[in-house]
């Protein structure tokens, strides 16, 4: 049996006096889509940044595809979509994608860029400077940039902020087909509609996972009518 795509055990991280991660445990199997749900400041973003190799935990162990996060990143196995669309505004959509493709060692980037742009439905804005795009379009370019090198693990920090419902559905259809092809996806979100599309959810609070399971299981466990109330009940119960 292959090792899990993501394996975190007792991960802690403190910033000054703030304990951002307090012994977080999480396993994500290969090809699984897991959603991280939690209020602002609960540690979602810190955990994702840890997986992206940007933060070194103080204690505990964390592995991505059986190696350290920074190793996995250096091997080009990780795609990371930051919450704010981190792109070069003066460059065109295609120039941005070409740059990120080169960084990730993508050879023959042309067809991959065309694919990625088709996926996010921006083929017609290929030559537009990113500065001239709307916030939602920038998010789509940012996602395309994270997909270019076909990473095995995709880390998405609130990927659909500012994206309209139709486009959001398209995004999720695409995430599904990626997962079916074996890509592991970890999504942070506080949009419930989005959370309900994940295979499994981890409810994170004060730097630890306080409840875990499919959306249906969490609703059932909380005895709630929907995911949003279940989220509130479980978060309250964990205090």
């Amino acid at each position: 049996m292959p090792s899990p795509a993501i394996q975190a055990r007792g991960v802690t991280k403190t910033f000054g006096r703030v304990r951002a991660l307090a012994g977080l445990d999480l396993d994500v199997a290969r090809g699984e889509i897991v959603g991280l749900l939690g209020p602002n400041g609960s540690g979602k973003m810190t955990f994702i940044r840890t997986l992206a190799g940007l933060i070194r935990p103080e204690s505990g162990s964390i592995e991505v595809l059986g190696r350290s996060p920074s190793r996995a990143v250096a091997d080009g196995q990780v795609g990371y979509m930051t919450q704010a669309a981190a792109l070069y505004g003066e460059l065109t959509v295609e120039e941005n994608l070409r740059f990120f493709a080169a960084l990730n060692g993508v050879r023959a980037a042309g067809p991959r860029i065309a694919d990625a742009l088709a996926t996010v439905d921006l083929a017609d804005r290929r030559t537009s400077p990113v500065n001239t795009l709307s916030g939602g379009m920038r998010s789509r370019v940012s996602l395309a940039a994270a997909l270019l090198h076909a990473p095995s693990v995709l880390l998405l920090d609130e990927p659909t902020v500012g994206v309209d419902p139709v486009q959001r559905r398209e995004f999720w259809n695409h995430f599904r087909s990626l997962a079916a092809a074996g890509t592991t996806i970890l999504v942070s979100s506080h949009v419930m509609d989005e959370a309900s599309r994940c295979d499994r959810l981890g409810l994170i609070r004060d730097g630890a996972i306080v409840a875990e399971g499919s959306a249906a299981r969490l609703v059932e466990r909380a005895g709630a009518a929907d995911l949003e109330s279940a989220f509130l009940i479980l978060a309250e119960a964990s205090r």
């Binding site: 910033f15 000054g16 940044r49 992206a52 190799g53 940007l54 933060i55 070194r56 990143v73 250096a74 091997d75 080009g76 990780v78 990371y80 930051t82 704010a84 981190a86 792109l87 070069y88 505004g89 990120f100 960084l103 990730n104 060692g105 940039a145």
Partner: protein, 351 residues
């Protein structure tokens, strides 16, 4: 106009400023620092004595008499040496003028700095007139570098090329790299296989192109439009100017790690750029700096850049000259240190 709204804007600015401790500190520290430097540089009225070497046979009666007479003159320090040794001490800056006593006396001055040359000549001709008597015509003056027609701009130009080249590239590199940080793209770069060393090397390579272009513009404008005369090979001038710009890029990258926004990056100007303008030999020769400040000049990359560029432009030294090579090596060391520092200062962690 509503007084309340104006007061609200003013009050908001005051509150923001109060929380920006760095800006507040700079507001107090920068003027004190800069004015102290100016005070130390030009405040002390202690004219350095003119160092004269008398070349010729010091044993002959006229030489001995002249030496004795000049030694008594105020503001002159006199010694004798052979002609070759005397000219060598002009070259290395340990003498200001040589009086040659073979046949009719003549004077050789260094000449690369018109201000210093005219000071030297004024003091020396006065003392010579007193020593030789009013009947003797003033001895002819030869210039090792430059000449009587050398303008102040001729001697300032190398320093200005180095200084402004440094200034512009420093600012450009610091602010561009900072934008990488503030726009969030740095986060994305660090979460890719790109290493910190590769990032810094890429920045350096990308900016070097523009640094070279800027060096060409500065040199061509100075020579063709301002009509500054130069002696050395234009290729050598270009190499030194390009080196200056490259160090500036490296330092800009380093400094941008310690700034959170553009305002804080600009605040490094009074700390990094202005003191170098005062101490690196641009305005006051390094050997005339007060003892307290001279070690500071030694710790500044521009000091070596200006010395090398002056050697190449005014004195016509080739790139292979020992002094120029030494300066270029020190500049390279500054550049490498700044680049390593910059790579180390790009933290993956944002606390």
């Amino acid at each position: 106009m509503s007084v309340r709204r104006v007061a609200a804007v003013a009050g908001r600015i005051a509150s923001q400023f109060r929380r920006d401790h760095r800006s507040l500190g700079l507001l107090v520290a920068a003027p004190i620092l800069i004015m102290s430097l100016i005070g130390a540089l030009w405040g002390s009225v202690d004219p350095a004595s003119v160092r004269v070497v008398i070349a010729g046979d010091g044993a002959t009666p006229p030489a001995a008499a002249l030496t004795a007479s000049l030694s008594r003159a105020a503001g002159l320090s006199v010694r004798s040496a052979g002609l070759d040794a005397a000219v060598a001490s002009l070259r290395d800056g340990s003498a200001d003028a040589v009086v040659v006593l073979a046949g009719s006396p003549r004077v050789i001055v260094e000449g690369s700095d018109p201000t210093r040359t005219s000071g030297t000549l004024t003091a020396l001709t006065r003392a010579l007139a007193a020593a030789l008597g009013p009947a003797t015509p003033a001895p002819p003056v030869e210039y090792l570098y430059g000449g009587p027609s050398a303008s102040l701009l001729d001697s300032l130009a190398p320093g200005l090329i180095a200084y402004f080249g440094f200034f512009f590239m420093f600012l450009l590199a610091a602010v561009s790299f900072l934008r990488e940080r503030t726009s969030g793209t740095l986060e994305r770069l660090l979460a890719s296989p790109l290493t910190r060393g590769e990032l810094v090397a890429g920045y350096l390579a990308g900016f070097t192109l523009f640094a070279l272009l800027q060096a060409v513009i500065l040199i061509v404008f100075t020579i063709a439009v301002l009509g500054v005369s130069y002696r050395g090979g234009i290729g050598a001038i270009f190499v030194v100017a390009a080196g200056v710009a490259t160090i500036a890029v490296a330092l800009g990258l380093l400094v941008s790690a310690y700034a959170r926004n553009e305002l804080q990056a600009v605040q490094f100007i009074p700390l990094v750029i202005l003191p170098q303008g005062f101490l690196s030999g641009l305005l006051v020769p390094v050997d005339r700096l007060p003892d307290l400040l001279r070690p500071l000049a030694g710790a500044m990359p521009l000091t070596y850049a200006i010395e090398a560029l002056r050697a190449v432009m005014v004195k016509g030294y080739p790139l292979g000259d020992g002094l120029v090579l030494r300066d270029l090596a020190i500049m390279a060391a500054f550049g490498v240190a700044a680049l390593v520092g910059a790579a180390l200062s790009i933290r993956r962690e944002v606390a």
